[in-house]
């Protein structure tokens, strides 16, 4: 570890040493000593307290405010403040055709992305579960796609997707395939975004699954080899059932993230062409920050939040 990383630590520890000297002084009955002892005896309260207060302020307050806001009608730019409308925004939401189109589009994106990422991630993990030299190199390089800044990645993919001069169409032609409009076509924009998302996140599924594979017990495999099982049989009847819980967890984690996909879509298409790549999450964003329809936006936010919460509850159950 680099030396500079220890500097804050050294500052804190020198403070503590000073404190210890003061503590050892004769005055053991002073008010400061009493306060310190009280603090020291109740660390389980005082240690998490600042973090809890901070989280209450930055996390809990917005959530409560969202719910309050979702019961009001309010255009940010209008001089009239929020007007109480009860559940009107929620009623409007379920009658809003755009809510439904963006909702189904989001599902299309999620299911499509999972259909690519989970099998591919499993396949990669099975490959990397072999013993060979380049394994660690691959594992390191596979961290890059999801550690890299999504905006930058989206810009580079946007460049590669360019219908006239993009390198991807060059490759298609090289293999004798017809050129594609990629993100410029209403039909292909979601599959193109799935491609980018899979490029970013399949590595994560691979890494989670690989960790799962490496923690599997050895005995069933030894028994299967002795019984003369084929590799396919070993995979189908031993590996797959054992690895399934890991795959389910990875799938749930990805689903939650896929609901919240924003950066790559906003940077590459901003929901276009037309509205062909506007998912529910983008619609929520636009309702609030392009149309400034705060009350309705808040209702959409509450819905997305509920959706994520349901996925989380399922995930928590699966993990147990």
């Amino acid at each position: 570890m680099p030396d500079w990383a220890l500097i804050p630590w050294k500052v804190v520890s020198s403070f503590m040493r000073a404190g210890a000297v003061a503590n050892k002084a004769e005055v053991k009955t002073g008010i400061w000593h009493k306060l310190f002892t009280h603090f020291d005896q109740h660390l389980n309260w005082y240690f998490p307290l600042p973090a809890i207060l901070a989280l209450a302020a930055i996390v809990a307050f917005p959530m409560v405010y969202n719910i309050w806001l979702s019961l009001h009608d309010w255009f940010l730019v209008s001089p009239i403040g929020p007007q109480w409308v009860g559940l009107q925004n929620y009623v409007q939401m379920f009658q809003d055709p755009k809510f439904w189109t963006t909702f189904w589009r989001m599902l299309y994106f999620i299911v499509g992305a999972l259909a690519v990422q989970v099998p591919l991630g499993l396949l990669l993990a099975l490959f990397l579960n072999q013993e060979f030299r380049a394994r660690n190199l691959i594992r390191t390089i596979y961290l890059f796609p999801f550690a890299a800044t999504p905006v930058a990645i989206a810009l580079v993919w946007g460049m590669m997707f360019n219908p006239e001069l993009g390198v991807l169409n060059y490759f298609l032609e090289l293999f004798g395939l017809p050129r594609s409009l990629w993100i410029a076509s209403e039909k292909w924009v979601i599959p193109s975004l799935i491609l980018v998302d899979s490029w970013e996140w399949t590595p994560l599924i691979m890494i989670i699954t690989l960790a799962g594979l490496q923690s599997l017990p050895k005995q069933p495999y030894e028994a299967a080899v002795i019984d003369g099982a084929s590799s396919w049989q070993i995979f189908r009847y031993i590996t797959l059932p054992l690895i399934r819980p890991t795959l389910v967890v990875a799938t749930m984690l990805r689903s939650i993230d896929l609901i919240k996909t924003f950066d790559i879509i906003y940077v590459m298409t901003q929901g276009g062409p037309g509205e062909a790549s506007e998912t529910l999450y983008l619609y929520t964003y636009k309702t609030g920050f392009q149309f400034f329809h705060m009350g309705y936006g808040a209702a959409l936010v509450v819905f997305v939040f509920a959706l994520v919460l349901v996925f989380n509850l399922v995930l928590a159950r699966v993990r147990r």
Binding site: M1, P50, L55, A148, M159
Partner: protein
């Protein structure tokens, strides 16, 4: 038999080598394409047949660094990520310690939920709030919102590290008359310093990469680098060389930091939501 197994071994080697090549092409190609495009002249970039051999030029980097206050935006990103990370450590380390030591599972669960909430849910209230207080386009607004990313991440990562520290060490110190606070600071913290560095770096990366909060809450003075580059692309004529150079400059710090904490990054990411 011997010949057969040798043949088998060669087959396996060919299979693995091919596999390695196929597996490495997709991630490497995108980064390679980004980097080489940044080194190409406009003519080379727009060539219909991609040029493998070209004379590299640093002009794109020079142009990006001179133009559009790029360094200023880099500095903004650096300041915001650093403060968000430091505050998260100060608040998060004691909390994580307490959760690990006193088995405060409900608190841990609450923190996980905080991490999973979609960022748009925070954005609407914070935008209204900061707008009312005239705090849009201030470091304060951005650091506060970036804490939403860094604080739960720090706590969640550190719980695991604190749990790995055996209780005996602190108990021995306390028998010798050491206070709990002091044993936390002088015994436990030094033992988990690798974890502290890892969570600091991970927090930094995710604050650095953050786009949505900065998109809404920053302005001309506090614009972070992802937002600045996004604007610079959408408002100017398409300039692929500049775009690639800018993308390279944003990505590079995140990738270098990733190399330092390879193992911990996975631990940090599998806790749940990665982005918002």
């Amino acid at each position: 038999m011997v010949v057969g197994s040798k043949k088998h071994k060669i087959c396996r080697n060919i299979f693995i080598t091919l596999g390695v090549i196929i597996v490495l092409i997709p991630p490497l190609f995108v980064f390679w394409w980004m980097f080489t495009s940044a080194l190409k002249t406009p003519v080379d970039i727009l060539s219909p047949v991609p040029k493998l051999i070209f004379t590299p030029t640093w002009d794109n980097f020079k142009e990006v660094l001179q133009q559009e206050n790029f360094l200023r935006y880099m500095w903004n990103s650096l300041v915001i990520a650093t403060f968000a990370t430091a505050i998260a450590l100060v608040l998060g380390l004691p909390a994580a310690y307490s959760i690990a030591k006193y088995r405060q599972q409900k608190l841990a669960l609450g923190i996980l939920v905080a991490r999973m909430i979609p960022f748009v849910s925070y954005l609407l209230p914070w935008f209204i709030f900061f707008r009312k207080l005239n705090l849009i386009d201030t470091y304060l607004a951005l650091i506060t919102t970036h804490l939403i990313i860094t604080l739960p991440m720090t706590i969640w990562l550190m719980i695991g590290y604190f749990e790995d520290v055996p209780d005996d060490l602190e108990e021995a110190a306390m028998v010798d008359g050491c206070s709990r606070v002091r044993s936390f600071l002088t015994i436990t913290l030094p033992l988990v310093r690798n974890g502290v560095v890892a969570s600091a770096i991970l927090s930094f990366i995710f604050s650095w990469n953050q786009f949505l909060f900065s998109l809404i809450l920053s302005g001309p003075r506090t614009k972070t680098v992802p937002v600045a580059v996004f604007n610079f692309i959408s408002f100017e004529q398409i300039n692929w060389g500049g775009l690639s150079a800018a993308a390279t400059l944003i990505v590079l710090p995140a990738l270098i930091l990733t190399l330092i904490i390879q193992k911990q990054i996975v631990r940090g990411l599998t806790m749940g939501a990665v982005k918002g």
